[in-house]
């Protein structure tokens, strides 16, 4: 499993960090983001890569859980 902390970084770094993790080919990826823009961008990327997504709120942040 890959876990990424993409809180606070500018566009497009959350997606870029996710892309680097996806290239390792894991079955499960968790991406922690702190705004809706990053959430939507990362979700769009992971969906296009064939992952199924779930979301969990962690205080102010959103955890995206992606499984193959």
């Amino acid at each position: 499993m890959e876990r990424i902390d993409a809180r606070g970084v500018s566009c497009p770094q959350p997606v870029l960090m996710t892309k680097k993790a996806v290239e390792k080919g894991p079955d499960k990826i968790e991406v922690l983001v702190d705004n809706n823009t990053a959430k939507n961008n990362v979700s769009r990327f992971l969906t296009n890569q064939g992952y199924k997504l779930e979301y969990k709120n962690e205080d102010e942040d959103i955890l995206i859980i992606a499984r193959k």
């Binding site: 500018s10 497009p12 702190d34 769009r44």
Partner: protein, 359 residues
């Protein structure tokens, strides 16, 4: 296609409003231009004294307040800052100088192309090259590091400042400077310009419209979401310009433009490259500043100071072409962007990439 409906509609509305603002008084191909408008504001508050480009552009104020209001309503307003603020300020200055050598921000570049100005196609080529260079550094781990949550009042200050500026404008504050001729003297009525800005600010906040992001995401991720906004602005403005008889295809005699191809190209290389490092185009920075991102507010301050310097030091182009000082400034700006790119790259320094740091 369904998820793209919002951004396509937003692009179309921007295109229609841009053409209408020209009809009601803005300079041609300048319904919106974030760089030109911030430059006019710099002149309006006396930061530079170029007599033809001084006005308080309500469109800019509207964009910020539109984004502020909609982000408060949608609970997306969050105050954040502290991601290399001074580097962002410098990048803001550099992007502005590049834009004023070309004579327009990326949004105006689209509007110029839609008006038939082929010089802007040369600018677009430079813009794409600049974005491509910036992406190489992103792929090598470029980052200005993460931001942090700050007190809400810090985030309110930028919209409040814009509101106060608008009050000074409508109150007729006598220390403001207004052009009596040239582009600064040409403007749509104040309230119409404000409302235009409010509408576009709100829509751009909801859809994350970004002119740099469209090309960047296509190259990096084959993600076409944002580029549909870019194309929608282009197509609708083109139709509007043809309908109202503003369309004029060619290089020569274009409104508020020059024909120095090399400098149009290099100016937009700086804008594309610098904007990729900043994470968004000048329009996007205004929107982010409105929704509480004070790093973007600092970037906008960089634009403002960059615009003042560009006119005080004779760096900005005129319709006659790029100036000698402007040509030197282009190379200095390219060197500054390169230095910032290298210094903040994981591959070239000991910068640890964000994300790995706090696992």
């Amino acid at each position: 296609m369904k998820e793209k409906r919002g951004i396509i509609l937003t692009g179309a509305i921007i295109g229609i409003i841009a053409v209408l603002l020209v009809k009601f008084g803005n300079p041609k191909n300048m319904g919106f231009c974030i760089a030109c408008f911030i430059r006019d504001i710099a002149g309006g508050i006396g930061l530079h004294s170029a007599p033809i480009v001084q006005y308080i552009r309500p469109e800019v104020i509207g964009l910020v307040l539109g984004s502020f209001i909609i982000s408060i309503t949608s609970k997306e307003f969050k105050t954040k800052g502290g991601s290399s603020p001074f580097t962002r300020f410098i990048l803001g200055m550099v992007v502005m100088i590049g834009a004023l050598v070309f004579l327009g921000c990326p949004l105006r570049m689209i509007l110029r192309i839609a008006g038939g100005d082929l010089n802007a196609v040369v600018g677009l080529a430079g813009f794409v090259v600049g974005i491509f260079i910036g992406i190489q550094f992103l792929n090598k781990g470029f980052s200005l590091r993460r931001n942090y949550s700050l007190s809400n009042f810090e985030g309110y200050l930028f919209p409040i400042t814009n509101l106060l500026l608008f009050i000074l404008l409508v109150a007729g504050f006598s220390m403001l400077h207004f052009s009596t001729e040239g582009p600064g003297s040409m403007h749509a009525p104040i309230w119409m310009a404000l409302i235009a800005g409010l509408i576009v600010g709100a829509l751009a906040q909801r859809t994350r419209m970004c002119t740099v992001g469209g090309i960047r995401d296509m190259i990096m991720f084959r993600d076409s979401y944002l580029i549909f906004g870019f194309l929608s602005i282009l197509v609708v403005t083109l139709i509007g310009n043809i309908a109202l008889g503003y369309f004029n295809l060619g290089f020569a005699e274009q409104p508020v433009a020059h024909t120095d191809g090399l400098w149009n190209f290099l100016g937009m290389v700086i804008v594309g490259w610098g904007s990729v490092l900043l994470g968004g185009c000048p329009l996007r920075q205004l929107i982010l500043a409105g929704e509480g991102n004070t790093d973007s507010a600092i970037t906008v301050m960089g634009y403002l100071v960059g615009a003042a310097i560009a006119h005080n030091f004779g760096l900005a182009s005129s319709t006659a072409g790029a100036s000698a000082n402007g040509k030197v400034a282009v190379f200095i700006c390219l060197a500054v962007v390169l230095a910032i790119s290298v210094a903040n790259c994981e591959a070239f320094s000991k910068v640890k990439s964000p994300g790995k740091a706090n696992n």
